[in-house]
Every structure is written in C-alpha cells, then in structure tokens.
C-alpha cells in the first residue's frame, strides 16, 4: 500500500463515533469520504480495541444517555437497546430507584424527598433543554478580544439571546444564568439532603471530569448530560453493537473506512490542507480534513508552525486530566447486591451514596492518588439470565492519569483491590466469583485512544472550555485556522459522551465554508 496516492473530498482522522458521524454526514451529502482509524477496531472510547476477553462487549463506554436524537435520526442508526432505571445504592440497604423524575425506595414507597426531587428534575430538565439548543449549531462568534474581562458577561448575554430565553420570565432566566456557574453539590443538598439521591445526581454531573461536585460549573455538566432527555439505554449486545450501528450507517452512506491506518501528518500548503500521510507513507489527498482527536494532537499532526502562538499555547494548556477508569469482570456466577431485588440487578447501579462521598472520592486524585472509596457506575449486562459466565462493567470514579511513578503493576493491583473491597461491601461474595478482570486506567485509555490525559471529554467541560471557547479560543468553531482543517471530536462543541453533535456540526461547518 505504501507510497500510493488516493483522493477524497474529505478525510476523517479517527473512527470513534464522532469521526463516523462526521463522515456519514458528509457522505450523505454526496461527498467521497475516507475514515482513518489507527486501531484495529472502530469506536474509539466506545470500545477500545484489542479486547483480551471477548465477553467484554462494552470494554469502555457502556451506556447511551446523551446521544443526540437528531444525529440518531439523520444517520439512520439502527440501534437495539433496552431502557434502564438507576438504583443509587446505600450502604445500609436503603437504596433509591430513580426513574426520570421519580424516586422510590426498594419497597416501592416514595422517597421522602420525592416531591422536591420531581420539582428539581423538572426545572433542571427545562434548563437542560434550553442549553441543548446550542448543541446543534456552531457557537456564535463574538467580536473583540477574549482577553477582555467583559467576555464572560458577553458570552452569557449572548447565550441568553441564542437560547431564546425571552419566554422564560426574568426570575427563571436569572436562575438559569446563575445555575450555569453553580456547583451541583449545593443545589442537591439544599433541596434533597445529602444521601443516595443527591449522590447519584452529583456523580452523574462529574463522571469523567477533574472536579468534585462542589466545584463551580459542575451543574453545567449535569445539564449537558440531561440535554437529550437523559434516557438511559444499554445497547443489546453491548457497546460493540452500537459501534457496529455507526459503522453500518457510514458504510451505507458510502464512506471508505480504513482500520490500522494511523495518520502521521496532515499535509498543509499555502495555509490550506491537502490531505494526510499515514504511518506507512501512504498519502491521501483531500480538500478537507476533519480530526476527531484533540487540538494539541491535531496541531502536532499539521505542524505547529501553521498555528498562531497564542492558539498553540492555549492548546498546550488545555485542561485534560482524565479521571475515569474502567473495571471489567468476568464472573463465575451472578453477583448479588444486598437489599436489591433481583429484577433491579438489570438497572444501572451507582455507588455514590452521598454527594460528600463523591467529593471525597475526588480529593486524592488532585495529588495523583486513588481513593479507597471510589464511585462506581455498574452494569450487569447478563443479569437477566442465570447463564454463566456473567460480566460486570464498572466506570470507576476518579483514577489519576499521572500517579507519581506511573501506573505500576503494584499500583494497579492495589487499585483493583480497593475497588473490589467497595464492591464486596455492597455485593458480598463477589470477589470469589471473579474469573478474570481487566482494569483500564486513564493512562491506558490515553495510550489506546490517543485522547490527552485519557480524558472522557477530550478536555475538561469547565466553564472556560465550553461553548464559544471549546476546546480553546481560536479553535472554537470547528475551524483551526488552516483552511480545510476541522475539529470533529469530543473536544469540540458541545463536548463528550456518546453524543455525535461534534461530528455532525463539524461536517456541516465544513460544508457551509465550502471546504469540500
């Protein structure tokens, strides 16, 4: 293959779901598109490649809750998924089932704060829906310099116009703008008291972020996640089947997909992209290059000399410290969580018994270490059958991406022991049932996907890195300065999760610019 030349209208760097979404969007408009994926499997963070144990069909991401409905529709995704409720586990067995705005105890009785919770949910959902209107477009450009201290006010003012908040009423509007900067902890604890219910909301707000629920801006990330209705869906057959659905959509649209094709450089001449060069020397010419990897990695591929000094500095300083890890277990028998009725073993199980617990789980990661009481988001994909082997899929809250001395075998073993101890407290005997286990740290995730810091969103969703400044000022409108070069991954607006809007918006921006 080496030293051959090929031609496409557009080349997409990375075959994660955003890369595939961008590709499909362009191909459906009649353009020739080639997706280049470094790994031997597609899906990126949806399915990190090279699974050692085939039973892990959701090796990394395992749930759909923030997939943009418009993306799903436009791509014609053929997803087969089942809906889930959430159970927030309590150490004393007083678990709470959360189903949309409803909060019930295990005996079916309403949670004592059920009414307050329903009210809060309705309000948050309304805010989230308003916010999500910004998800499907390129954030508006503001004139003037971003070094201007008025910038933030301008941004908020503009967000207000963009969102069409007019019908909202002054008080509600003020509350909304205030909420964007608020921390999730105060809001939850004010209305709900601290416990499994508040803990669940707190954990959902910060999962994947380098922040505890008491950090400002964390309500924003919760609203982001509620933006598409927050219906929890587990793909039947695991996340691998959802990846297959994205691949199928791309293939039907006529995209060429190449695996094991790592891009070594983006070719730039006269301030325009001309294509890419692969690790094996293959040159692929294209009028547009859409990159689903972060700003820094994209700059490095194209060559830093093509970017302004200030933009390169911001890319370098992008906050991207991944904190989410993943534990996958192969089990001899179905685990049993104390006080949890059998059918609810199919729910999403959270170990985040209070917002304070979540905050404490965060603290050690600031210093590169790992909490003895991490938060866990657990799925038991085979819980509906007694068949073995069973699997457990858990997103682990707050693992450092750069522990001092790195992730040594000893440190991994220790971390795994700590996670198992937490699981054991809620599901006694689980440890004895483990046949095989796999722990993926943020460092592993970085190695496998190339995402800076192994970060869930390819860059923290902080108030300084969202909307008009996501991922950084100067690259915030999918454009990168160099003509024909675009960001189309989770680092771009609106952000991460299995969402698809970054890929779709980026493709539409490229079309609007006449880049293809």
């Amino acid at each position: 293959m080496s030293n051959t030349t090929q031609n496409f209208d557009a080349v997409i760097i990375g075959g994660g779901h955003n890369g595939l979404t961008a590709a499909t969007t362009l191909a459906r408009k009649g353009h020739s598109v080639c997706v280049l994926e470094r790994s031997s499997v597609l899906g990126g963070m949806m399915s990190v490649g090279g699974a050692e144990a085939p039973s892990f069909t959701s090796r990394l991401a395992h749930l759909l809750y923030n997939l943009n409905p418009k993306v799903e529709r436009e791509l014609g995704l053929r997803l087969n998924a089942r809906n889930l409720t959430t159970v927030s586990l309590a150490p004393n067995g007083e678990h709470v089932e959360i189903d949309g705005g409803k909060a019930r105890m295990m005996d079916g009785a309403l949670h004592p704060k059920a009414v307050a919770f329903a009210t809060l949910q309705t309000r948050l959902q309304r805010f989230a829906t308003l916010l999500s209107r910004l998800s499907l477009r390129t954030p508006p450009k503001l004139s003037g310099s971003w070094t201007d201290p008025e910038t933030f006010g301008e941004l908020m003012g503009l967000a207000g116009i963009g969102l069409g908040l007019k019908g909202m009423g002054k008080v509600e509007m003020r509350e909304f703008l205030r909420a964007l900067l608020t921390n999730v902890h105060d809001l939850m604890v004010d209305d709900l008291d601290d416990g499994p219910l508040a803990g669940a909301m707190a954990a959902d707000a910060v999962r994947g972020s380098f922040s505890g629920p008491k950090a400002p801006g964390t309500l924003f990330s919760l609203l982001y996640r509620l933006g598409n209705g927050a219906n929890l869906r587990a793909p039947v057959g695991g996340m691998a089947s959802a990846v297959a659905a994205f691949e199928d959509a791309a293939a039907r649209a006529g995209c060429v997909i190449k695996r094991q094709s790592a891009v070594r450089s983006v070719l730039v001449q006269g301030d325009r992209v001309h294509g890419v060069e692969l690790d094996d020397g293959t040159v692929i010419h294209a009028k547009a290059v859409l990159s689903s990897i972060g700003p820094q990695a994209t700059i490095n591929l194209a060559g830093i000399q093509h970017f302004d000094v200030e933009i390169a500095r911001r890319a370098k300083n992008l906050r991207a410290k991944g904190t989410a890890g993943k534990l996958n277990l192969l089990l001899k028998a179905r685990p049993e969580f104390s006080g949890l009725p059998a059918p609810l073993h199919q729910a999403r199980l959270l170990i985040a018994p209070s917002s304070d617990y979540v905050e404490h789980a965060f603290n050690p990661v600031k210093y590169g270490s790992f909490s003895e009481a991490p938060t866990l988001e657990i799925l038991l994909p085979n819980a509906h059958t007694p068949e073995t082997p069973q699997t457990l899929s858990a997103v682990v809250g707050y693992m450092p991406h750069d522990p001092p001395g790195g992730w040594t075998d000893a440190l991994r073993t220790k971390a795994e022991r700590q996670i198992m101890a937490v699981l054991e407290a809620y599901a006694p005997g689980i440890g004895d049932r483990v046949q095989h286990s796999e722990l993926l740290t943020p460092t592993d995730i970085q190695t496998e996907t190339g995402a800076a810091g192994g970060h869930w969103h390819h860059g923290e969703m902080g108030i300084d890195q969202i909307l008009n400044v996501r991922p950084i000022n100067g690259m915030a409108h999918y454009q990168c300065g160099v003509e024909g070069l675009y960001l189309c991954g989770a680092s771009a607006h609106p952000g991460g999760d299995i969402n698809g809007a970054p890929g779709r918006n980026s493709a539409l921006q490229a079309l609007k610019d006449g880049a293809l």
């Binding site: 003037g144 310099s145 201007d148 301030d271 490095n300 830093i304 000399q305 093509h306 970017f307 302004d308 000094v309 200030e310 933009i311 390169a312 500095r313 370098k316 100067g474 300065g481 160099v482």
Partner: protein
C-alpha cells in the same frame, strides 16, 4: 555549612532603584546635566550636557549612546529560522547570516507586539533586540520548535556610535575592518566584538555589541581614538529628535505595543503603521497572518504617516482636522527639525484620512508665550520619504568627514 551570606543586606540582595549599566561610570563623569531616566530598569541618560549640542553632534560629528538596556533575546538551534519566520511578519529567511533586519511581530489578531532588529550571526543563530520585555512571549513562540532561547539583556552591552565621523573613529581605534560593512551588515570584527552598521538616526553609524566585561575597555578605546573626530556622549532626547527626522517609529509613543494595552482597540497592525512592505503574505503562516489578510480586505482603521506642518512650533500631541472642522487624528511625535528646517511629525489619522484622503488637513497647535496661550491652525501635508536622509549613510566604504 555556615551561612556566609547572612551579612548581606536586603539592598545588596535586591538592589533598589535603577541599575547602572557598565558604561555608567564614564557617563557619570561626563554628565553635567545629571539628567537620568529609567530604561528597562537601567539608569539611562536623558541629556549629558546639552540636548542641542548633542543633537548637532549626531548630524555633524559623532556620538555615543548607551543602548545596553535594550532587551536582547538569543535564539539558537536547528529550528531557529522556522520559529522566527512563524513569529515575524517579514520573511526571515531573506535575512542572511551577517545581516540585520528591522522587523515587527504581531499577536494572533494582527496587533503589533513590538518592533525590533533581528541580528543573524549564523544559519541557526539569531539575536532579537527590542524595547519591550518579551521573554515569556518568545518562549511561547518557541514552544514546539527545536531552539534555545536565552535572555541576554543583562549580559550583553551595546554602544551606538552614530554620526558622519563614526567610521573614522572606528578606523583610528583599529577597527577598520568595519569598512566593508554595508548598511545592515553585521560582523565579528574582533573576537567577541560584533559590529553592525545600524542605528536609529538615519545617518552613518554603527552599533557595537560585547560582553559586559569588555564594555569599559571598548569605551575607552573609542574615546581615545576620537580625539580628532569630535565624539560626544549623548542622552535620549537628542537621539529622539534624530529618529523623528529619520522617520522611525517608537514603541509606546507612535504605537501602543498590544501587550501593554488594557483597552480594546488600542493595538495597531503593521499595515496601519505603514509597514506593508514588511508583511510577507506570500511566505508560510506567521503569527497574525489570517487577521492581517482580513484587515487588508476590510480596510485599515488608521494610518500612521509622516507629516510636515506649517509654522515652526513643535506639534507634539496636536489634534488634526479635515477642512478645519472634523477631528481626524493626532500627532504622535512632533519636532522642529534643525537640520532640514522643517516642522515635522509622525501622526496617526483615522482612515481614510492620511490614506486616500490627504488634502485639506490641519493641525491645531497651542502656543504658550510668557503666560499667554494662543491657538493656531496650521496646514498639514503628508510626506512619503524620510525627512532626513543623506547619501553618506549608504556609501560603502564610508568616507571620512
């Protein structure tokens, strides 16, 4: 270990006040005006004896001005040329080793950060001299390139030897190898002594660069050689008058370096400062290029131009009018030019004035005479060539005068 530094007073550890340059002992001895100012933390002369004498020495004899306080950044390494070419608006590749280039650099919005002179010692070895402190930004600009940046501001001293007899002095000081230097040439005339044929006066002149330790010896050597050539040590004021005559702009005066502005819109682009010829849109990307291309399309906001005014009263700060009524700009540097006998200035005008519209321009000058203020409107004409320019500035080898 015992702490032998315990006896150091705070003042020894952190010197207060202005820092003397290596030439300060000689300047101090010559100074009758005792008029000093701060320049980048160093003590620098405003006037040594008398501003007029010093100015006429620039134009008729020779002068020494201590330029040691200049910020000097050494940039070395295999990527030095590429890094600087991405930083500067002009094509740095065209500045060959042994040459010096006047250059500007911008932020991402095309606003001038500073101007300065870029000395090229070798293929991979440059020094940037400028007014503004720049280390942090230069390091940002260097990030990702295989270069080493060294701040030489405090280790390298500089003397500016300017005036018609300046080469004669070099010759008598045994530095006649400088004869071969054409304007903007640079050479190591003796080990450790680099001489460039550069300056801020528009006349024949040289700048001499050396390690601090070699400074005083060189000063004395020049001074000894100058006996017949009328050398004068000068301060900032005389030099400033000469630079206005030469039509050179000064940072903080004729434009505001973008990093030192707080208010929106106070920065200026090289195009607005009249340096289109130093902006190379044909070369690869450079900082601010995209913003500058956009401005070139959309049009400039202002024009910095050379003007000549009626009357003889210096026009510093004067407001400019079109048809005597509409305010369209102001003078940034104004002076009566003793050599050309003209009332000259640099001025900033709002576009299109100073650009497409150049007729019917007026300056409002306030004149103070023994307690009486008077206001005059004098005619203004836009000039395209430097007010002062002399063939001797370009003749190589230079002639003795």
């Amino acid at each position: 270990m015992t702490d032998t530094s315990a006896a150091r007073t705070l003042e020894e550890a952190v010197p207060l006040g202005l820092i003397p340059t290596v030439f300060q002992p000689r300047l101090e001895a010559l100074s009758s005006a005792k008029s000093w100012m701060g320049w980048a933390g160093y003590q620098s002369a405003v006037v040594i004896e008398n501003m007029e004498f010093e100015y006429f020495a620039i134009r008729n004899q020779s002068t020494l001005f201590d330029v040691s306080p200049m910020h000097k950044y050494r940039i070395q390494g295999p990527d030095a040329e590429a890094m600087l070419n991405r930083m500067m608006t002009r094509d740095v590749r065209k500045i060959r080793p042994g040459r010096v280039g006047y250059t500007l650099w911008c932020d991402e919005e095309g606003m001038v950060i500073d101007d300065g002179t870029l000395f090229r010692f070798g293929p991979d070895d440059f020094r940037l001299c400028c007014q503004e402190r720049m280390l942090g930004w230069v390091l940002d600009a260097a990030w990702g390139f295989d270069v080493q940046v060294t701040d030489e501001s405090d280790t390298i001293s500089g003397l500016s030897l300017q005036g018609p007899t300046s080469f004669s002095i070099l010759k008598d000081a045994g530095l006649d190898a400088a004869a071969a230097l054409k304007p903007f040439d640079l050479a190591e005339i003796e080990p450790g002594l680099w001489i460039s044929r550069t300056g801020f006066t528009g006349d024949l002149g040289y700048e001499l660069w050396m390690k601090n330790a070699d400074g005083l010896a060189l000063w004395d050597r020049l001074w000894d050689a100058a006996r017949d050539w009328g050398l004068k040590a000068i301060g900032f004021e005389a030099l400033n008058l000469a630079r206005i005559e030469a039509g050179f702009i000064a940072a903080q005066v004729d434009f505001q370096p973008i990093h030192s502005t707080l208010r929106l819109g106070r920065g200026r682009t090289p195009l607005e400062l009249g340096f289109e010829r130093l902006v190379d849109f044909e070369k690869d990307h450079f900082n601010g290029r995209r913003a500058l291309l956009q401005q070139r399309q959309k049009g400039l906001r202002t024009h910095l131009v050379k003007i000549e005014l009626g009357g003889f009263k210096p026009s510093n700060g004067a407001l400019l009018y079109h048809r005597k009524t509409k305010e369209v700009g102001h003078v940034t540097s104004g002076a009566w030019s003793p050599t050309t006998k003209r009332n000259i200035a640099l001025a900033e005008l709002k576009a299109p004035y100073g650009g497409q519209v150049q007729d019917d321009l007026w300056a409002e000058i306030y004149v103070h005479e023994e307690g009486q203020w008077d206001r005059r409107l004098v005619p203004v004409t836009v000039q395209t060539s430097p007010f002062f320019s002399h063939p001797r500035a370009r003749a190589t080898p230079p002639r003795p005068f």
